[in-house]
């Protein structure tokens, strides 16, 4: 008897740790106006460069200290999370929709649709991505929308490539032929038979892409090409922190930690979800 199906669902530590951090960070971001202890934009030059709470000279209520203009770092981090998550969800979803659809079509239909889509992907991928993003934002103008569009425009190819390969493998399975025998049309087969089987990969990639989107947004902020307003972003915080690294290391380090944990969690969540949703044991 095949013993595969008896494999129990083990409690997946990685999945829960990653999911836990993301939920926590997301909740903070969503509830920022109520949770953040201070106005992230309120300056108070008398309280500039205060260290975090455990150090000497810390001010009660300013837990992670302040930046050179005396703005509360914790509040800025929490508000920065709002933008990070917004970019992550919007840009990754857009890239996923475009990339997966084209990848599915290329992989399943093959022939000339595949040749056209694959060539476009090849050309697209030969631009250096960060430069491409900077160029795009420069053309579109700064702002949240431009950042999201830029990331989606660059990163759909990642979905397209992987999903195309997966769809090709699935299309060669006999159940696809068997659906034709059952009288299903080509598009019906693609959506009902092939798509569910590439879904675990799409979910994993989507999660990974959210992490990547946050990084790209941070890079754009760092080079001052993200949103134009004074709203705090993690990349922007890192850029500011870099200027005062010797006087106030915390302004650089705390946003970096938030960025690092969030991006890592997204990639771990993707892997964990893929395993979770893929009990199929090919």
């Amino acid at each position: 008897m095949p013993s595969e199906h008896t494999r129990p669902h083990r409690f997946n530590t990685r999945l829960w740790l990653a999911g836990g951090w993301l939920l926590f960070a997301l909740a903070l971001a969503l509830l920022a106006p109520w949770i953040a202890p201070h106005d992230p934009l309120a300056q108070d030059l008398l309280y500039g460069r205060l260290p975090p709470f455990w150090s000497e000279g810390a001010e009660p209520g300013l837990w992670l200290g302040t930046d050179s203009l005396g703005r509360d770092l914790l509040s800025r981090l929490i508000y920065g999370g709002r933008i990070a998550f917004m970019v992550a969800f919007a840009a990754a979803t857009a890239a996923c929709l475009v990339g997966s659809t084209l990848g599915l079509i290329a992989g399943y239909f093959g022939g000339w649709p595949d040749r056209i889509i694959s060539r476009i992907v090849d050309i697209w991928m030969s631009f250096p991505p960060v430069l491409f993003a900077i160029l795009l934002v420069a053309v579109l103008g700064t702002g949240l929308h431009s950042v999201i569009i830029a990331i989606a425009v660059i990163d759909w190819t990642r979905f397209c490539r992987v999903i195309r390969a997966e769809a090709m493998v699935q299309s060669r399975m006999d159940y696809v032929e068997s659906a034709r025998i059952a009288g299903f049309g080509r598009i019906g087969i693609m959506i009902k038979e092939v798509l569910p089987n590439v879904m675990p990969s799409i979910i994993a990639l989507l999660s990974l892409e959210m992490g990547i989107a946050i990084i790209v947004e941070a890079i754009l902020s760092f080079v001052n090409l993200s949103i134009a307003t004074d709203d705090p972003t993690w990349g922007g915080l890192i850029a500011e922190g870099r200027l005062s690294i010797h006087q106030a290391w915390w302004v650089l380090v705390f946003p970096l930690i938030a960025l690092f944990l969030t991006v890592l969690s997204f990639s771990q969540l993707g892997e964990g979800l893929k395993q979770r949703f893929d009990p199929i044991l090919r």
Binding site: D174, Y175, I181, A182, L281
Partner: protein, 274 residues
Amino acid sequence: MADPLYSICDLKLSLPDMARKPLFGPAPKIEILKGLSFELPRNAITGIVGESGSGKSTLGRAMVRLLEPTHGSISFDGDDLTHLTESALKPYRRDLQMIFQDPMSSLNPRRTIADIIAAPLRQYGLVDNLPQQIAQALDRVGLPQSFASRYRHELSGGQRQRVGIARALALSPKFVLADEIVSGLDVSTQAQILALLDQLCRQMGLTIAFISHDLSVIRRLCEQVIVLRSGEIVEMGNTSDVFDAPRHDYTRELIAAIPLPEPDTHWLDMETVG
């Protein structure tokens, strides 16, 4: 032959040869089927036997029109299927069913067994009393009702193949193509599936084309046999005639190469014919 189900005349089929595809430009065509003509009698199992490269699977896929012939004609129940488009084929699809070699790959991993069997019924709007129809389909192939809610990975190889048969028969088709359906199975499971197919053929008045590389299995199951080599028919006729008095050297060679389960120290030393 009086009123055959299939009449196939000078069937040729070429496919692109990916192994010789140049870096740029299309792959050259290679002729897999080189002009086959035969008829398939109704309510009988016809064996199609050949070694790898004989074109037997390609022939099967042309018969159920998953592939389009490049030449010749395929007439099914009096209608010409040779060059019908996918949409024109649709009314015929329910009568042209197929059981696959590898049930692992032919059953969608994300669907329950009930779902898999119901799909063709839904597609043709034949759902009447679905639970009962599924129960009947499972019963027909000797699977317990509890299997309806399971997935393919929860089944053994023989059980998966039974699901494949249940799905093919759900629409009560006129014709079923069975492509190497027992070659991955243990002998005891193979014996069960052969007995089942034999019984279903008689009960349901099916016409079956049974593709196999195993002559012993063909002998057990089929009334007629077609021997293929390199896309051409070497010999065809009643199974007992072909086995008892093969007319072609290749058929003799094939038969002589089967190791019978009888100890014989000289068998290996015998030169094969040709």
